[in-house]
């Protein structure tokens, strides 16, 4: 049995590729990156020991090409593949292809991925193991009449979901029965286009609930533990935007109960490696299994910050066949961690993606701050991949300190050249409901963060600064026309330097 890998290939890009490469580097494991044509200069390419081109920008022709990935792994002599999240991370076929090529897939078995990836099969499997799921259809719904029957049985509102689903795609909330037929058609179309599978099922749409998920670690020797929970109720269009650990709604007894159920769900598919069991938690502390993600989550750092455990290092150890280093009683949650997903999206323009070159990056740091990012000066944000470009994570002794720290870190974070959702998070940190921890999955629909009154002091500051700049550039362009040959420096800097020299 292996105790460690010699060389790991990372079948991903962006911050998660860098995150995995960092862990390998810290373990002294050799690294292989893959890149599409537009990613030649990307951080993960420069970070790895080796890097291989796998084709055009479009993910379908590069990062999703199982054949090319297996080929690179073979040519480079890698003995394992880490899939990151997204792309092929929850693709059972990819896990099986690795197995067949004699490569270790750093994740669970193809069977576990397959069962948990089919949301209906997952519900049936964990139910059989005694786990309570969100009320809904027992299996796929065959057509309109059956869907109407089920909706009447479980009660409105309901949510139509794709069995192959994920990321909010192929999902429709239905509040009135007469909306159901249209919702079924729309969801089926979307699911077909996104997953090549338009099978649907129904769940009761629970309101005033929190999204609370448990981090699982499981080794090959039957040891399964959980590392506490993450609260992920801050979502926009069913996409998580902010996560924290612990959940403000948690108490030790509830954590123990939910953790036990999460472990049970993982064991029902003989789970191995890191995984996440998602629940909806209502006000009465009743909780319902939603789904299991059979991979590293985007939001894994908040768990790392409160437990001190490096999840990627544990993934690598587990995949190499080693036993878990921790027992359940070793896991202690200390303080509070929060993560914001920083995206190239304009919060003042309906969160439209913002593309372009990031000319300068200033990442926050200092006590209790971590940034997982693949951004660098001169990086181009293209239309080809996910707009999330960095994750900002903070730790504080208390949730209050963590919020204040996040606020100061958000203020420090500067990305020049594109629009980002940083101002959105700044406002969220000032929201009394958020500060009080009164969260549910509809939080962002109910709390109008971006429509608050404008600050008259800042308005005046903006007016004064802009007038000053307009004035300066007029003066400068006038003097430039007179002295065009004298300098090719920015007159701004020259002005600053000159005055420093004079006064000094």
């Amino acid at each position: 049995m292996l105790t460690s890998f010699r060389k790991v290939m990372v079948a991903n890009r962006g911050e998660i590729a860098v995150r995995v490469l960092r862990a390998c580097e810290e373990l002294g494991i050799g690294t292989v990156a893959v890149y599409s044509d537009v990613d030649r200069n990307a951080l993960h390419v420069r970070y790895a020991d080796e890097a291989y081109n796998i084709g055009p920008a479009s993910a379908r022709e590069s990062y999703l090409r199982i054949d090319k990935l297996i080929d690179v792994a073979r040519r480079s002599g890698a003995d394992a593949i880490h899939p990151g999240y997204g792309f092929l991370a929850e693709n059972a076929e990819f896990a099986r292809a690795c197995q067949e090529a004699g490569l270790t897939f750093i994740g669970p078995s193809p069977e576990a991925i397959h069962v948990m990836g089919d949301k209906v099969m997952a519900r049936q499997t964990v139910q059989a193991a005694g786990v309570t799921v969100v009320p809904g259809s027992d299996g796929p719904v065959s057509g309109e009449p059956e869907a109407i029957d089920i909706a009447e049985r479980i009660g409105l509102p309901v949510v139509v979901k794709a069995t192959a689903g994920g990321g909010g795609k192929g999902m429709r909330v239905v509040h009135r029965l007469d909306e159901l037929p249209a919702a079924l058609r729309a969801a089926a179309n979307e699911a077909g286009a996104a997953f090549g599978d338009s099978t649907l099922y129904l769940e009761k749409y629970l309101e005033n609930v929190r999204h609370v998920e448990f981090q699982i670690l499981a080794d090959r020797h039957g040891n399964v533990i959980h590392l506490g929970e993450r609260e992920c109720s801050i979502q926009r269009r069913h996409q998580k935007m902010l996560e924290e650990s612990p959940s403000p709604a948690m108490d030790p007894r509830l954590r123990e109960r939910m953790g036990e159920v999460a472990v049970k769900a993982a064991k029902s598919v003989n789970y191995e490696n890191a995984g996440t069991v998602e629940f909806l938690l209502d006000k009465d502390k009743k909780f319902y299994f939603l789904e299991m993600n059979t991979r590293l989550q985007v939001e894994h750092p908040v768990t790392e910050m409160v437990t001190g455990i490096d999840l990627v290092i544990e993934q690598l150890r587990i995949a190499a066949g080693r036993r878990l280093r921790y027992r359940q009683r070793d896991i202690q949650v200390k303080g509070c961690a929060i993560e914001c997903r920083i995206s190239a999206e304009d919060p003042f323009n309906d969160f439209l993606p913002s593309i372009g070159v990031i000319t300068n990056v200033y990442e926050p740091s200092g006590p209790g701050v971590r940034v997982d990012s693949a951004v660098f000066d001169g990086m181009e944000v293209t239309i080809y991949y996910d707009p999330m470009i960095a994750k900002l994570i903070v730790w504080g002794e208390t949730r209050g300190q963590a919020i204040l720290r996040m606020r100061r870190a958000l203020r420090e974070f500067k990305l020049l050249g594109i629009r980002t959702n940083l101002p959105f998070f700044l406002r969220l940190m000032d929201s009394p409901s958020f500060i009080a921890g009164r969260l549910d999955t509809a939080f962002l629909e109910k709390v109008p963060l971006l429509q608050q009154d404008e600050n008259s002091v800042l308005k005046e500051v903006a007016a004064i600064a802009t007038a000053a700049i307009a004035h300066r550039s007029k003066i400068i362009s006038a003097s430039r026309n007179q002295n065009a040959h004298k300098t090719d420096h920015s007159p701004w800097r020259t002005a600053g330097r000159r005055s420093a020299m004079r006064e000094g």
Binding site: P353, D386, E454, A470
Partner: protein, 168 residues
Amino acid sequence: MKYYVEINDETIELDITERGDKLAISIGGRELLVDVREINAPSLYSMLMDNQSYELFIDAQGDSYNVLVNDELFRLKVQDEWARRLSNIQSRAHPAEGELQVKAPMPGAVVAVEVTPGETVKRGKGLVILSAMKMENAIKAPRDGTVKSVEVTAGQTVQQGQTLVVLE
């Protein structure tokens, strides 16, 4: 020198005088000593205004500016006295109405067209759904109007700035 800043529906009048390497700015009867520096091109500035320290992101497009300070974004227009007089004359000559081309804010693929020519639309009505970066985004009507023409079809890829719909 006098400047007029249009911000939302308000016009703020300022008077700027050079004061060594700083600027003396009169606004609403007060005088402020302002020291503005460009920290990094294209858009990061530091301003000390009577010793109050602010960082601002300022993007200019002609005399229009997007200004981000803390968590607030302002869209404003700066004109000196001369430019203001000129534009007052022009705006009387060319009243601001008529055709409006709604353009793609980024490159992407058209997922759906949600209006047809002749349809009257309210401000905020979705016109076209564009897909880019894994996300679908509704391109909305920036003002009330009638759809004069639709310039794209579902499935088509478009460049940034390409006209999608013409309103009138």
